[in-house]
Chain length 191, copies 2
DNA sequence: TGTACATCAGTGAACGCGCGTTCACTGATGTAC
DNA sequence: TGTACATCAGTGAACGCGCGTTCACTGATGTAC
């Protein structure tokens, strides 16, 4: 299938547009991404995207869902490799921070209320959020059985862990914290 | 001094512009604030701001510096009221989270690399950052003398504390974490 | 104390820009018979 | 197997928009003499 400008029925323009936008997202924040530039990157006229996305916000929301899925799956993969509860929690946090460090703008998009409003997740986003909450809750439930962690409120601890890891992710992403400093900082905290 | 549109020599237009922008910042993120709207709010023509700020970015940067100063001073005030090292650290974190909850867009501006680039703080911003780092370092230095905290690496612990508190601030600001959940979460973490 | 004049701090008009979106269109595809 | 036709997925032209910024200007202020 040709990618020439005159080609009708691109075949997979929806995915191609998301790919192009994701590539732009490595350079610029979501707010600066224009539909026209995305279309240009995909080699398509500036209003072809309207056949696949209602408007600019819909494209960026779809991108946010995709990023959230990647973030979640990275955490799931990281946890799989470990059996010790403390090691699993460390791996979970490490994957979260790594994702933010490797895909800063994609990570930011997931938490951008303009495109991924919290409190009103749609049918695509909601199950991902639930899965992530359950993943964290399960790991913390195992953690509080460990010596040194017994008796802590699992819910409060889960919130604390999330905040810590999220804070590290944001600070690393913005360049305020060296990436290598994240793991020692987490260890010092839950020593 | 009249505030009518025809008034020359406003008297304190620089401060008035910052005030107007700060008010807009309660409603919208920094990226959406336009120089023209700020000027309108200040009751002045759309290019009067150029007499006081080089361009739009300079105004927003000045706003960021102002917000950083408020954030720092809120922490300093909070710590003053406590003597127990653990209570001081809790107060420090509480003030940080409260500032973000009360002034979400101003808080976000302080960490917006578009207007307040990290790594290259200017002469106004740099001393505030230094003061904040010293404040945190001093409190952590006292904390690691306390039973249960001895032997921890102060630098790593300071980074961990900052990340935790920053994460809470961001999550509360975005509505992902109820404000009341922040303090219990911090307590569960450093129990 | 007046006066000439430089400077400061405003003004409105105008510019070009890229954007999101709408419109009427057309070529390609798939399906019913 | 052909054919008629609905639908799908593109096209280029055009729109209005608010914006940042520049320009030439003018009234108010402060200062040297």
């Amino acid at each position: 299938m040709s990618r020439s400008r005159a080609t009708y029925h691109h075949g997979n323009l929806q995915a191609a547009l998301e790919d192009a936008a994701l590539e732009l997202l490595t350079t610029q924040p979501a707010a600066k991404i224009s539909l026209r530039e995305v279309a240009r990157r995909a080699g398509v006229s500036h209003n072809a995207p309207y056949n696949h996305f209602g408007d600019r916000a819909a494209l960026l929301h779809a991108l946010g869902v995709r990023a959230m899925r990647e973030l979640l799956e990275a955490q799931e993969r990281a946890v799989e490799g470990e059996s010790d509860p403390i090691a699993r929690v460390r791996a979970l946090g490490g994957a979260y921070v790594d994702y933010a460090a490797d895909h800063p703008q994609a990570f930011a998009l997931v938490f951008d209320p303009e495109y991924c409003p919290p409190g009103h997740p749609d049918a695509d986003m909601a199950p991902l959020i639930t899965r992530n909450e359950e993943l964290l809750a399960a790991e913390v439930a195992a953690l509080v059985q460990q010596p040194g962690f017994t008796g802590r409120d699992p819910e409060a601890l889960a919130a604390g862990m999330w905040a810590t890891v999220h804070g590290m992710a944001v600070l690393v992403m913005l360049g305020h914290l060296p990436r290598e400093a994240a793991q020692p900082a987490l260890d010092a905290l839950i020593a």
